[in-house]
C-alpha cells in the first residue's frame, strides 16, 4: 500500500495531465476544463454534421431532410430507439477495449479481435451444454467469452511490457489473427454441415439464447453494456487500482519509483480491456446470431475505437456516445430509402466524425477561455 507522502508525490506529478483533484484540499472547482471537455467534442460533432451536410448536398440530397431522416431513424420513435439501443450495446462494451488501456497511456485497438475470440470461445462452450438451463449456459458463455477476450488483449499488453512492442500495432495485428482463427473454425473445426451457403458453427438452441427484455427488441446485452461502463468508471475513478492505472498513465517512471507494480497492472488492465469486447462477442452470438459465423466480424470493434476517442476515454461518456453512434448506424438504411443516398453515406459520416475528432484533439488547452485560472 502506498503511504500518504507517496500519494502526494505521485499526485503532484499528475496535475498537468488529469483534471481530477486528487488530495482534495484547497482546490477550487475546476469547471473550465470540464466545460472544455464537453464543448470541444460537441463542437466536433456539429462540425462533422455540417461537413456531412455539404456531402449530402453534393450527392443531390437536401441536408436538412437528411438530418430529419437520421433523427427519425435513430430517435424519432420507440421502434427506432430500440434499433439504436440494440446497436449501442456492443459499442458500449467494445469502446472499453480502447478507453481502459488509454488510462494506462496505451493506445490499443484490439477490440475487434477480442470480440471475435470471445464470441468464438463462448460458442464452443455454449454448444457443450445442450441440456443445461439457459441461465447456466449464458453465465458460462459470458465468463468464457470474457476470459478469452481478456487473455487475447493481455498478450498484447505483455508484448508491450516485456518486449516493448508497440501496443497499437500488436493489438491491430492480433485482430487479423483472431479473424483468421474464426474463419478456420467455422469452415472446418466447428462447422455445421447444414450451413451450406454460409459456413457457420452449430446453432445454440433458441431457449438458451439471450432473450429480449420484455416485449421490446432490445436484448440483455444492453444491460451488460451499461453495467460494464459503470463498473469501469467506478474502477478507474474510485478505486486504488484505478488510481494506480492513472498514475502509470501519467508518468511510468514516477509510478515505478513510487513502487507501483507496472507490469502486473498492465496485464490486469489489458485483460479487463479485452474482457469487455469478449463479452460483446458472446452477446453477438447469444442474442443475435445464435451461432458463430462470419457476421461476428461486423466492425463493432473498430466503431468502438471511435466511440472511445469521442468520449475522451471516459467510460460514462462511452455510454452516451455509443447511443449516438448506434443511432447513426441505425439510420444507414433510411438514408438509402428516403434520401436516395448511396449505402456508404453513413460510413462517410462516421469517417468525417472520426477525422474531425482526431483534429479536435489538438485544440485542447489552446483557448484561453478554457484555461484554468490560478487560485
Amino acid at each position: 500500500m502506498m503511504e500518504n507522502a507517496q500519494v502526494k508525490k505521485v499526485g503532484s506529478l499528475l496535475e498537468p495531465v488529469t483534471s481530477r483533484s486528487l488530495s482534495g484540499t484547497k482546490r477550487h472547482f475546476r469547471w473550465r476544463s470540464r466545460v472544455e471537455s464537453v464543448v470541444i467534442p460537441t463542437g466536433a460533432i456539429l462540425v462533422s454534421l455540417a461537413a456531412f451536410g455539404v456531402f449530402c448536398a453534393l450527392a443531390g440530397a437536401d441536408p436538412f431532410a437528411v438530418y430529419a431522416s437520421i433523427y427519425k431513424a435513430a430517435f424519432g420513435s420507440w421502434y427506432s430507439f430500440q434499433n439504436t439501443l440494440v446497436r449501442a450495446a456492443p459499442l458500449m462494451l467494445c469502446s472499453l477495449g480502447t478507453a481502459i488501456p488509454y488510462q494506462l497511456g496505451l493506445v490499443m485497438i484490439g477490440n475487434e479481435g477480442a470480440l471475435v475470440i470471445g464470441g468464438l470461445c463462448a460458442t464452443v462452450v455454449g454448444l457443450q451444454m445442450p441440456t443445461a438451463s439457459p441461465v447456466m449456459v449464458q453465465i458460462a458463455m459470458a465468463v468464457v467469452g470474457m476470459i478469452a477476450g481478456g487473455l487475447w488483449l493481455a498478450s498484447s499488453g505483455a508484448l508491450k511490457h516485456y518486449r516493448g512492442v508497440n501496443e497499437t500495432i500488436s493489438s491491430l495485428m492480433m485482430n487479423y489473427i483472431a479473424i483468421a482463427i474464426l474463419n478456420q473454425a467455422i469452415n472446418t473445426w466447428i462447422r455445421d454441415p447444414s450451413s451450406l451457403n454460409k459456413p457457420a458453427s452449430y446453432p445454440i438452441p433458441d431457449e438458451q439464447m439471450l432473450q429480449p427484455i420484455g416485449d421490446t427488441t432490445i436484448h440483455w446485452g444492453l444491460v451488460f453494456g451499461l453495467t460494464a461502463c459503470l463498473v469501469a468508471w467506478v474502477l478507474l475513478s474510485q478505486t486504488t487500482l484505478g488510481f494506480q492505472i492513472r498514475a502509470i498513465g501519467g508518468n511510468v517512471r514516477a509510478a515505478q519509483i513510487a513502487g507501483i507494480p507496472v507490469g502486473r497492472i498492465t496485464l490486469i488492465t489489458c485483460f479487463l480491456a479485452g474482457a469487455f469486447p469478449g463479452l460483446a462477442g458472446m452477446v453477438e452470438v447469444a442474442a443475435i446470431h445464435g451461432r458463430a459465423n462470419e457476421s461476428l466480424n461486423a466492425w463493432y470493434g473498430y466503431s468502438g475505437i471511435l466511440v472511445a476517442f469521442l468520449a475522451r476515454h471516459n467510460p460514462l461518456g462511452c455510454i452516451l456516445i455509443s447511443t449516438l453512434l448506434g443511432g447513426l448506424l441505425a439510420s444507414g438504411g433510411i438514408l438509402q430509402r428516403d434520401q436516395h443516398l448511396p449505402d456508404a453515406a453513413i460510413m462517410v459520416f462516421q469517417g468525417l466524425v472520426f477525422l474531425v475528432i482526431l483534429f479536435s484533439e489538438s485544440l485542447y488547452g489552446k483557448w484561453r477561455i478554457f484555461r484554468e485560472r490560478d487560485a
Binding site: A73, N197, D343
Partner: protein
Amino acid sequence: MKQSLFLLIACTAVLTANALAADVTIGFIYVGPKDDYGYNQAHALGAASVAKLPGVKIVEEANVPETVAVQETMRDMIVQDNATVLFPTSFGYYDPHILKVAKQFPKIQFLHCGGFYIPGKHPANVGTYFGYIDEAEYISGIVAGLTTKSNKLGFVAAKPIPQVLRNINSFTLGARSVNSNATVQVVFTGDWSLPVKEAEASNSLINQGVDVLTCHVDSPKVVIQTAETRGIYSCGYHASQAAIAPKGYLTGAEWDWSHVYGMYVKEVQEGKSLQAGSIPHVVRGGLQDGFVKVSDYGPAVSAQAKQAAEASKAKFMDGTMVIYKGEIKDNTGKVVIPAGVEMKQKDPELEKMNWLVEGVIGSATS
C-alpha cells in the same frame, strides 16, 4: 354559377378517385449494388419500371447482406416506411430471415425471388417467384457450341445450389445438342460476388484453352471483361453485357423482371393477396411467359448459329421444347433421368437438382 358547381363536382370526383387508389408502398432489397451489370441491376430495372405506375411508391435498399441485417431492413421498411409488399431479391434472404419476419408481420406480403415455398410449413404471407432462365441458357449454349473452335467452353459459377447447377446443365445440353464434342469446364468461386476469384477463375479457364466463357455470378462484369480483354467469346447472364464486350459478346440469358413486377403490382392493386390465396405462392415462367429473354446476337455470331438458336427459341415459345428429357447421365456416368421420362420446366424435381450433366468437367459438391 352552374360552371363553378360543375367544376367543384369534377374536382371532388378526381380527388376522391385518387384518395381511393391510395399509394401502395413497395420495398425492394438488393444484396449488391444497383449498377452491377448483373443480378441486382436486373431487379432494379424491374423496380424502376413499376415505380412509374400510378399509385405505386417504391423504397429500395441496396448492399444488404444475407444476415440478420436484412431482417432489420425489412422491419424498418414495414414500420418506418409503411411498406405493405416487400421484394427481398437475394436467394439467401429466404431461410431463416424472411420466414422469421413474415411470422412477425402477418399482414405484409413477402415476395421472394428464387425460394421454394412449401405450403403448410412456410407462412401464408410469403410467396416465391422465379424465371426459367435456363431456357435462355440452353439457347445461349447452342450459340456457344456452334461458335467455339476449341470445343472447350468455360463456366464461372458462384455456389453449387440447384438453380446454378440447372443453368450449367441447360447451357451444356444446349451446346452438346449441336456440337457433341463440346465440353463445359465449371469453376465454383464460393459466393455470389467475389470479383478477384472470378477474374482468377476466368483467366485460368482461358489458359486451359476455353474460348467461350459464361458465368452465373451476381455481376458478370468481371468475367465478361476478362474474356474480352483476352480476346475470346463470351455469353452473358442476368442482363446484357454487350456494351462491355462489343467484339466477343455472342448472346446471353436475361431476366425481364418488369413484366413480373408489373403483374404483381396489378394483382395487389386489385386487392388480391397471398394470405387470401388469390396470389399464387409459387410463380414460375420462362421464355413463353415473358419472364426471361435472350440477348441480341453479337457481331461474331454466324448465320448458322442464329438459325439454330431461333429454331430452338420457336420451340420454347410454342411450348414443345423439353430440355430435361431422358435418358440423361451425369458426369460420373450415373443415369439421373431415365429413358422415356420427361421433366417439364415446372417439375419440382428440377428445383432440387444436385448433379452435373455429362460433358461438364467439375464437381457439384465443392
